[in-house]
């Protein structure tokens, strides 16, 4: 086994894991704080990617694209929460599952109509379009390293937000005991809207930043959704820490699964999930 190859795959796994974390953390927060399962979460990732493609062709600048895209996602998240999701908090799980499934259908079809179903690519910005040498023979795309760094920074920012700010304390309190937070006089509606928008923005941001690295394709939302679910199952619902650990675990399982057992790579992550479930049915960290 070539050492350089292992290093490359490790870097790939870390990058994929951090990206997954951005998506999964939104999913687990929304569930942990509001108790809502959101199947449409993968669609936000897909929307981010297609948004990046559309805005990038308009502005030609990835940085501007991501900033504008993130702002738009936050607005979209707030609107969706106000119009639809706020009605779901009292509903049972099945209704949440089905309503958000309906949303997937709507989003996918809207995307089909507005942007089409083709696979697109987004240009890597010129200043990042080079390869970093690893050892004597192999190289690694600089953009992917950049992605990992950015995702790590965002993850750190999320951690600081949740653990070290007043808002974060309220989010954690809301996840523990919604009713008590309301009784204490905190505006729970506003808090929920914030958390939801944050979740949407994280997923969309992940889609945007990943767009130059891999293709923007119609099926990407569904793919990332199911893997995110596995991450949340393994990490524990509502646990951001769990989501981080699980994302990396799943990313490594998937990446190295493809290397060592390419024919069965598809089920590698589920085998890991089944194993963890046998050991801890509630996931690695309980919220």
């Amino acid at each position: 086994m070539d050492l350089a190859l292992i290093l490359i795959q490790t870097l790939n796994a870390v990058q994929y894991g951090l990206l997954l974390f951005l998506v999964a953390s939104g999913l687990t927060l929304i569930f942990g704080v509001m108790g809502v399962i959101n199947l449409a979460h993968g669609s936000f990732y897909m929307m981010g990617a297609y948004l990046a493609f559309t805005l990038a062709s308009l502005t030609g600048n990835l940085f501007v694209t991501i900033v504008v895209g993130t702002v738009l996602s936050v607005v979209l998240g707030a609107l969706l929460e106000w119009a639809l999701f706020s009605h779901l908090y009292q509903r049972n799980h099945l209704q949440q599952v089905l309503l958000t499934y309906g949303l997937i259908l709507i989003f996918e079809e809207l995307r089909s109509v507005l942007v089409g179903n083709e696979v697109h690519s987004v240009q890597v910005p010129a200043w990042l379009d080079f390869s970093v040498p690893l050892g004597s023979v192999m190289t690694y795309p600089a953009y992917r390293l950049f992605m990992s760094v950015v995702c790590l920074v965002v993850a750190l920012g999320l951690y600081l937000l949740i653990q070290r700010t007043k808002v974060g304390a309220r989010i954690r309190a809301g996840a523990s005991n919604r009713g008590m937070v309301q009784v204490l006089g905190i505006d729970i509606d506003w808090l929920f809207r914030l958390v939801f928008s944050l979740g949407v923005a994280l997923a969309a941001f992940a889609g945007m930043i990943n767009a130059p690295a891999s293709a923007v394709s119609p099926g990407m939302g569904m793919q990332v959704l199911i893997v995110s679910f596995v991450v949340v199952i393994v990490g524990g619902i509502g646990s951001v820490r769990g989501a981080l650990l699980a994302s990396l675990l799943i990313a490594f399982a998937d990446t190295f699964g493809k290397v060592f057992v390419p024919d069965y790579a598809g089920i590698a992550i589920y085998v890991v999930m089944a194993g963890i479930l046998l050991w801890r049915p509630e996931g690695l960290f309980k919220s």
Binding site: L94, L98, G102, E109
Partner: protein
């Protein structure tokens, strides 16, 4: 049979419905006869899920795994490995294999609850989806498999009927669907059925009373799996083809939709839901290519405004009509 027939009005409605179903093939509309056969098979699929969702309170998002598996058992036995094409053997095999698989998966997933359970059933269904999508020995191909033909009903030298005839297939499925409904009605009245409904109402209390809740849930999960396998088997026979999409989570979502459309925990909910769902699909797709969009909107509206399904619509309308006495 109080769960089957709630009132004389209901009894008449059911009788009329079955009379219509029985007479339908005589109209000689082969396309529609096949369509209704498909709907009946989907009803059986939905009813099998209702045992879990409506009566035990277990929301499985992976039920399509058993549906597809039932079809693939027939595909593998009859077409790929050509071991047997006897209806009696392949149908039994399909139900046994899917029930066994459901039993094993149940051992894993039933340790989880609520939201976890939903996600974990989805994930396990994905495993089976990958098996039939990727593993060559299991017919792995994204296009699925075309089947050699309908199963043979031969018993020794005697051939009771041929499933190659559209009408015969229709009646065969109709009889099976009626048998399934009777079976469900009996099951729900039985001690097992009562225990399941108790678990749906309050699992902790059932545990406190001393019921081995896990075993009951496992029993429900296994039975539901086997019944879904039956539906999948019939689906494969009808279409003379299998496809990994039979195990996809879209299929799992569709059957859940049928339940919420029709009404859960009502024996006829699966049936009403399947008919409504297919009707909705056919109508929407004939109007517009974007029918997914309208289906999505319809789903959102139904969940927001009519979460009890179409059956609850009947209840609601009753309250609109003031009863006049004397």
């Amino acid at each position: 049979m109080s769960s089957l027939v709630k009132s004389p009005a209901r009894a008449v409605l059911i009788a009329v419905f079955f009379a219509l179903l029985a007479g339908f093939p005589q109209l000689d509309q082969e396309f529609y006869t096949e369509l209704v056969t498909r709907v009946m098979i989907l009803s059986m699929f939905a009813i099998s899920l209702d045992l879990l969702v409506g009566y035990t309170g277990l929301i499985s998002f992976g039920h399509a795994a058993w549906f597809g598996m039932g079809g693939y058992v027939f595909a593998l036995l009859g077409s790929k490995y050509q071991i047997t094409d006897s209806l009696w053997l392949t149908l039994s095999a399909a139900m046994l294999v899917t029930a066994a698989a459901a039993f094993i998966v149940g051992l894993f997933v039933l340790r989880t609850r609520g939201m976890f359970f939903i996600m974990v059933t989805l994930a396990f269904a994905q495993i089976f989806y990958f098996f039939f999508h990727d593993v060559k020995a299991l017919g792995g191909s994204s296009d699925g498999m075309n089947l050699r033909g309908k199963p043979s009903t031969a018993l020794g030298g005697w051939v009771p009927f041929e499933l190659t005839d559209t009408n015969t297939m229709y009646y065969f499925v109709l009889v099976l669907m009626a048998v399934l409904l009777l079976f469900m009605a009996l099951l729900l009245r039985s001690p097992l059925g009562r225990a399941l409904q108790g678990i749906r109402e309050n699992e902790h209390r059932m545990e406190a009373i001393g019921f081995p809740v896990f075993r009951y849930k496992l029993a429900a999960f296994t039975i539901a799996g086997g019944l879904a396998g039956l539906a999948g088997y019939l689906f494969a026979v009808l279409n003379s083809a299998v496809n990994p999409e039979m195990l996809s989570w879209h299929q799992s979502a569709d059957v859940l939709l049928m339940l919420i459309l029709g009404g859960m925990g009502q024996l006829w909910g699966g049936l009403v839901g399947a008919f409504t769902f297919v009707l909705l699909q056919e109508l929407l797709s004939s109007f517009t290519k974007l029918w997914h969009l309208w289906l999505g909107i319809a789903i959102v509206l139904i969940v927001l405004f009519l979460p009890g399904g179409m059956i609850s619509l009947a209840e609601r309308m009753k309250t609109l009509w003031p009863r006049r006495h004397g």
